[in-house]
Amino acid sequence: MHPLDRKLFRDLWHIKGQVLAIALVIATGVGVMVQSLGAIQSLQATADAYYERYHFADVFAHVKRAPKSLARRIADIPGVQSVEPRIVDYATLDIEGFNEPATTYLSSLPDLGQPLLNRLALVSGRFVDHSNPDEVIVNKRFAEAHGLTIGGTLTAVINTTKRSLRIVGIALSPEHVYAIGPGALMPDDKRYAVLWMGEAALAGAFDLDGAFNDVTLTLLPGTDPEGVVQRLDTLLARYGGTGAYARKDQISNWFLMSEIDQLKTMARLLPTIFLAVAAFLTNMVVDRLIATERGVIGLFKAFGYSDLEVGWHYMKLVMVISLIGIALGALLGAALGHLTTSLYAEMYAFPFLLFRPHPASFVAAGALSLAAATLGTATAVRRAVRLAPAEAMRPPAPQSFSRSFLSSGRLSGFFDQPTRMIFRQVFRWPVRSGLTVLGIAMSVAVLIMALQWLDSINRLIDVYFVAAQRQDVTVGLTEVRPPSVQEAFKNLPGVQAVEGERDVDVRARFGSRSKRLSLAGMTERQGLFIVYDDAGGAIDLPPGGLVISSKLAEILGAELGSRITLDVLEGQRPVVDVPVVRIFDTYIGYPAYMRLEAVNRMMRETEVVNRVHLRVDPREQDALFRKLKDTPYVAAVTLRQASIDMFNETMARTLLVFVGIFAGFAAALAVGVVYNSARIALSERGRELATLRVIGFTRFEISYILLGQSLLLTVLALPVGCFIGNRLALGMASSFNTELYRIPAVIEPSSYGYAMLLTLGAAVLSALLVRRRLDRLDLIAVLKTRE
């Protein structure tokens, strides 16, 4: 081995603490990138594989009732590969030991057992026996939530008839990756079930013999689903079609893809920031590390080594450190990526999980980190080799300091000499101090970005579930009912207030754009379920116009006064033009509202509702639930508190993990910066500090001088970090805009507090690590030698 290489390894071992700290900084950047990209790629790969293996349909359509013979004509639509008619509907479930009513989505299975499309991944048990109409297959998550097993029974009210169902199988379906009840935001496995039953059994229950009310299609490769959707709509219109839609609008897939979209935003932004910060810090730290090698560089040159050889030597040093960091980051990122992906797999009901981070993400992260480190080395080495050998070997002349505002006037009396040394050191190297401040500030900023998520989600819950919803229970009805139904609900136990709503499936069109949605007809001023502008509070619905969310306005490209065409997809399927009379902001979805009477008028129907909101006395809640389970026209029951709990629980499971990961990375950044800058300061100023020890300063006093500087810089960095964090977090929140969510740009003061405390803690920890070295300062060496 070349002696220089031997020196390299000895040097590395000698500065192992710093090597580790720099590697840690690099590892954070690489780690975040690998973790985020890995999770997305894996989630996408898992979803793709699942959809393909289980023949997830490309187009979906619901009708009131269509003859089975229509399936052949659907198959004739150009581009259609396979067609599967089926029967689906909602029902309520009564589970033993669970007071609240649960909603179930019933879906028919063909005689052959496994459907052609949207195949089931049977986890246990078997397919239903068609000769036995009471056999069901239950989705796995619901079974798990209630501890249901094969052979167990469920009581359901199916189309006004109470039935006892026997569980023969437990399964997963690509159609219900995100098993979400009507109107819900999160899967609620306790209150929402998917049941598969024999086709004959469901046909009997819903009076659909020889007919179907739902159809799914797969398309030939390269077929545009929109064309098929249009033809299908035409075909199904006279059978009461409620509008066909492509896979991208299928609810479970839509949620899943929204989630992947969100993750992509996060994966673009956060790792970029981390990597940039890490690169910047690596550069800074390496630069200073090389600067302390000045004498050695002079010596090498004196021996006759060329600038290039000397440069290459240090380049190798930095490359070794970088590679350690990259390896560490890749391992850490892969491990965390696996963890996050499995969290997703748990949240979305996947039958399997493919963890397949693309190698490109590792390579990109690694290359960027390496480039940053070598660039830092290049500038530092160039500065060092530029000196003539003799000059380089001579100890640098005492750095020239100058008097500043601190040394003059009244201020100077305030500070003792050690404090003055701290200030002078900081101001003597404004760029270096500034960079250190910026480095620490970035770790504060990253923390704020992570913690801000919790604030935003809390705000979202406050607005969406608390300010805008004052009902306790929402009941979806099997069909429209006259207003007298509200009286009937009022007479149920514990019900204090009732508010009816008429929801209509429509396709909203404006110009060339269109969007399928559920238009809600509401009373002018709502007391329970409130039309709520996130910026301005409750909204009274004006007569004769559409009140739409700004997200829908954006999707349609509409503005105030635009006339939107509504193709109603049920009843007599009227087509009407309605002006937009108000646009409001919401964090969730893309709702549209109209006055109840306007919707009834549009539907050419009498005053009817198909959804009611109830305020309930909690003491009588259980009695109400018992009643609801037996009420025939109840299709779905949603409990507000359960939704909030579910939302919180899901967030706690996933978001807290992310916040934890990012907090960990941010703390690592802080430790990396503070430890390195203190450590380098120590190697630069060891002699000065040892001198102070010799002339009678205690260990505490010299620690104060060295670490006081680090802590001063940290304290200076805190407000800077808060500012940068604020900008970044708000920027990220506003760049987060999917059909599903907008993230409120909120940062609570406590988030700033935690971010600062955590950074300060990391800084103190690093300072303590360096303090141990101060205790071992060699007091005698300093008297004789210079550097």
Binding site: P395, S407, Q417, M421, V694, I695, T698, E701, L783
Partner: protein
């Protein structure tokens, strides 16, 4: 006239009763390493420093003079032997008490000045006066070594000789009982070195500070009260300088 003054001083000293011992070391041995690799830096050295005297420790490099000074100054511990100061055995002190000893009683001057670059001359001195129990004012200390007009200069703005004089001011501003100078002129040319030695001599004379000065330069020993020659870790001889001359008359 200067000579007259010195003669008068010498006369006074001669008349005075034998001075008290400020510090005494007995049987100091320092061994680095063990077994066959052991290096004996000191081999049983006895040393007394008397109140107010100026002692020059003379020896080639490796003779053990710095090791001796380090042990006496409370920077290092002997392998064997003891050092007594003010009735206390400093060689038994723990780290905190050794720091206290250095802080309160010992002034150090180093070959390479070891000034804090971020502090002005005055502030470098204040560094010590702030932590000492009975210091003089920084300006007074600087005045004593003739740098009253350089108080607000930073080390980078001072010549080597001036930096070393600031270091001396820093060492004596606490009114130390013992001033230890390790090759104070080692990094200076002879002309500048003389100026620095004059400063040390003046402190020794005017403040009565017991002073031990290490040098390998035999020429300097002419300014000492006593000259102790070290070689190979042991004291070779101790001579009382009958013809002490002023630092200003030294040259090498």
């Amino acid at each position: 006239m200067q000579t007259d003054q010195r003669e008068a001083d010498d006369a006074r000293k001669a008349d005075a009763p034998p001075a008290k011992t400020a510090l005494s070391a007995r049987g100091l041995t320092k061994v680095y390493g063990t077994g066959e690799l052991a290096v004996w830096a000191l081999r049983g050295v006895d040393l007394d420093l008397r109140e107010g005297e100026l002692v020059v420790l003379l020896g080639a490099s490796g003779s053990g003079k710095s090791t001796l000074l380090n042990i006496v100054g409370g920077l290092d511990r002997p392998t064997e032997g003891s050092v007594h100061f003010d009735g206390a055995e400093i060689t038994r002190f723990n780290d905190a008490r050794l720091t206290r000893y250095r802080r309160d009683h010992v002034g150090f001057v180093f070959q390479f000045y070891n000034l804090v670059p971020s502090l002005t001359a005055e502030e470098n001195v204040a560094l010590v006066t702030e932590i000492a129990p009975n210091p003089m004012k920084p300006s007074e200390a600087l005045g004593l070594i003739g740098l009253g007009d350089r108080q607000t200069h930073f080390p980078a703005q001072l010549s080597g000789g001036e930096q070393q004089r600031v270091a001396i001011a820093r060492a004596i501003a606490k009114r130390p009982r013992i001033l230890l100078c390790d090759e104070p002129t080692g990094a200076l040319d002879s002309q500048t070195g003389v100026v620095v030695l004059e400063a040390i001599e003046r402190i020794n004379r005017e403040l009565g500070t017991t002073t031990a000065l290490i040098t390998h330069n035999a020429g300097i020993s002419a300014m000492a009260d006593r000259v102790i020659r070290l070689a190979d870790g042991a004291i070779q001889d101790v001579s009382i300088n009958g013809h002490k001359i002023a630092a200003s008359e030294l040259s090498w």
